[in-house]
Point group: D2
Chain length 328, copies 4
């Protein structure tokens, strides 16, 4: 029979993403709602090792639902990869009276949680927080929807100047090894071509597409490129390649960079964070462990952490077709 | 055997919503992709009656994916409710060579399309465009996601001033008879209480909740109220009622109004519009008629227009619980 | 010879406005830069009476430059209008070691500061913080530029729906008895007509203008109305009047309300706040008192508080003419 | 006696900037207001040479006041640098009945206008349109205020992730050889250090400042760097230098890029554009030529084009001091 949970620890780990604060708020208030305590752990696993803690009540999380970043901060922890580091972390949690852990982060963070659970039997629940949407078991990770809006907003601005000058822009967006951001934001921003790691179009196809675009009367074009694209060239090399082969084009490059990770979360991300936080805490109270809460077909679900880590979040192939048709 | 479609007419009808232009663009470009013609019909059914048409090719819809409103404009048509009006509209379509119709709008617009189909056997497909999300057969209508972001952005601003002055704000949001906007934006904006038509909390409960909120140490509060709420008082009467019963509160009212219908669509709405436009045109080409394209469990689906009109889009009861927990 | 200042108190009073936090940050850091102490006073003069204080160092104001509202909160104080109230306030300041006061607010707040100075000889400097821009001695008050952007952003959204439906909108904006917001935001938003308290156009003129607008081929129109407009009718009565006299118009009303006071400050307001905070503190250190710091012809200046309170911030008449020409 | 102006040509040239469309609208409507004609010239001087013209009436510029970019498009013209090119341009203008020219652009565009005037006696007025604010004779160029808001909005997002991870970010902003954007947006965004071409701090000073910043308890830092900074290293070399000298820092680089040139103009830029357009046309009607309209000490003024081209727009040294104090 599972031990009764009296105090939940919550941490954010890995790259921050919009909605993490809303998730922290949800975990803290769900604990308060069920009359259990909640401990905030600063700087992820490193803070667990250093005992960098803060007791959190429902008023500790006032006015953060709309804030980007994470008030608990995030950090990498080399020490947590060692048994000694995890032992310190465990001792600190026990001393603080913590019975269970909610980890908000990506698959690296979940792996840390799984190992910790396997060594100490500590109940762990994961909440997927990353803008990259590259986690199996959830249609949306926290921050992904916000990042899409940030990207289309940036490309809308770039399009103003692109169409004023009849120019071609290559815009590089985030996504690690996944093309979710590039594909969705590319469609949303009306990109003429989208290069993602999941689909190797080849350079020939890109040249073809650009020539067709010009022939069809388009005077300016946006190509969205995922940072992890496997085309074998980075975005600046790609510019050189295209200019060498299509001298009529004057290519400009824009790498959107870290601003994609920040900003006030969208309504979608705030609501999702609230739902996932409730489910994470209540699942712990139900005696569950080693699951990731996520959204599947609009419902909050549980996926074993192991599957979440190993599984692959697939690109929706329908969207590639939609993208092709839209650039007619 | 269905007649081959050679030319599709597209119109927007009813209240405009962000994403309608992206849907028009998608319809136009999907037609071009399949080498069929496309006719833009201005001002909804009224423009059909008046023959207010424009031939549209893929370049006619450049740079509108990010624009609010509808370039085809919208209008109510009393005349289309008469057989004579519909006869004129039919004659105009035939004269223009149009074989099929895509109607972007709400259930009133779909009803018009159904009647038109029943009288003239004209193939009709519907795309749900309204910020209210009150249409059966789709988890999201076009513009709903954008409206949610607009509302939370407004309430974030109101919260700045609410928390600077320790005040209580009543914020009225749109949604006709549905509480979708109020419930989701209320959770997203961190509202202390949300009043929606689907759930009659009663006035007592509201007073209770506000008292509890003050007792719990909250110094400012936001109450989100759906315009169609059945509590029996409008938002200004509600203010008077609360101030009479809880004299410690100084209530301010904000009615967000029509700005909720405008603005550049979110990435979600742009992608959804693109997907639905493709499906609408390709379904017509497949010989289908009298369906609404929609999104269900993340997939693009077809729902008979009759069901879309008669069915009710239900509130997710889980969200009411999440809202309660969040206001701990 | 003036007493050496060793500790400055800072408070925000009256309606909050975007940029107040940036001004607090500037006051606090300018004190630190000059190695003097700074005391934050919560809830304006009421907090002074209640001794609701907080010592502030440069790190107390991290990450607030971009936040709307005021971290020191604001409140009205009836008690400060009494000699007894002011005595308590004075005693608290003395006890806390405070030598001088920076008051961020509008003319009501400055009047309180002047009286306090006259009774206790306490050095006082004012920083003009209000969105209404109705203070003599500064071309821009803190928050005014941000409010203008908020208003044009809202009207841009309303215009989407106005032009989709060929409708007339009356949009009421803030400004107390001053038309600055209405006039500038009206020009910025492309309003067809702007009604401000400083200029009584009369109702006939409004009807004329609307008829001319329709005749000139405009299919939709926005009229911006200052809340303090003296036309003798509120915005809803105006709607009834216009609809009675110009039945071809279907008028919609939108009252933008309190959101105009919130939101992240514009770059202009943040820089202005930073400049004014420096000048306020350094003027106190120079032995000055009873001045308001402000911006005049792009330079930071001092205006005697008495003049700032009594003077009138005039509308730029050139702008009225520009507005007329723009609605051609 | 100057020839009566009956038709004004308007063009945009050089890099586009937000507010150019609002200026075009103002020129067109001011012409209509004074009952003279207006000709839109596409793609700057190149379109003048090619006769790429469009007659513009007051309704041609509906709904563009809030659009970024330029509907008249912009282009570089090598041909206009030749007497033959200018001859063609002149002949086209004469054929089209154009009597005078309004050039919206930067100093390169003004130089073209001056030469054209010297050769053909054609009346020319300039409107300063560039985000860089590097033009003498105006406190603000069109688009500058908007770009500042775009930059602070981006840096606010970057700060979310910087403070979540206790990181140092180098953010490169536009401005050609001028530090206006970097200095103002740097203060607005709360940057710890700002590197501008006008002030060579030297690399030592940067290291000092970063060390002091860490010592003072700041856990994350933003350094804003103007693209034209003369420190002798580009932003990536600067990162390497700092990481080599201050190994405790993990530096991230973000180059904001072209998005700074786009976006919906701020209220300030829209109002400024409206004012400058009126003045430009009315000055031509008054028989003036070879001036740039600008804003000086809040008033619309005329500066001889020659001075505008040769003069230097100076950085406000007070702001450097404010920036220093703010990073205390």
């Amino acid at each position: 029979m599972p031990k009764t949970i009296k105090k939940v620890g919550v941490l954010t780990s890995g790259g921050d993403s919009p909605g993490m604060n809303a998730a922290i708020r949800s975990v803290v208030r769900t604990c308060a709602y069920h009359n259990i305590e909640c401990l905030g752990i600063y700087r992820g696993y490193q803070g667990m090792i250093e005992g960098d803690f803060k007791e959190m009540g429902p008023r500790s999380v006032n006015n953060i639902v709309n804030k980007g970043g994470t008030i608990l901060k995030s950090a990498r922890s080399v020490e947590f990869r060692t048994p000694e580091g995890r032992k310190k972390a465990y001792d600190n949690l026990v001393k603080a009276g913590v019975d269970a852990l909610v980890v908000i982060g990506g698959d690296g963070s979940f792996t840390g949680g799984l190992i910790f659970n396997s060594e100490y039997g500590f109940p762990v629940m994961g909440i997927p927080g990353t803008i990259d949407n590259d986690i199996f078991g959830t249609s949306h990770t926290l921050g992904y929807d916000t990042a899409l809006n940030t990207v289309v907003d940036c490309i809308d601005k770039i399009r103003d100047t692109a169409s004023s000058h009849n120019r071609l822009f290559f815009v590089e967006v985030m996504g690690r090894d996944a093309g979710h951001i590039a594909l969705n934001a590319g469609i949303g921003a009306g990109a003429e071509e989208i290069l993602i790691p999941e689909e190797d179009l080849g350079l020939e196809r890109l040249l073809d597409s650009l020539q067709k675009s010009k022939a069809s009367g388009k005077s300016s074009s946006i190509v969205v490129i995922a940072e992890g694209d496997k085309i074998g060239k980075n975005v600046f090399e790609l510019k050189d390649y295209v200019e060498a082969n299509l001298p009529e084009y004057d290519v400009r490059v824009s790498v959107l960079g870290h601003m994609q990770r920040g900003g006030s979360p969208s309504c979608f991300d705030r609501v999702l964070a609230s739902r996932l936080g409730v489910k994470a805490v209540e699942s712990l109270l139900d005696g569950k462990s080693n699951y990731m809460v996520g959204l599947q077909q609009d419902k909050v679900t549980l996926t074993p952490l192991e599957q979440a880590i190993k599984g692959k979040s697939e690109i929706d192939m329908e969207l590639l077709r939609v993208s092709d048709i839209m650039s007619t």
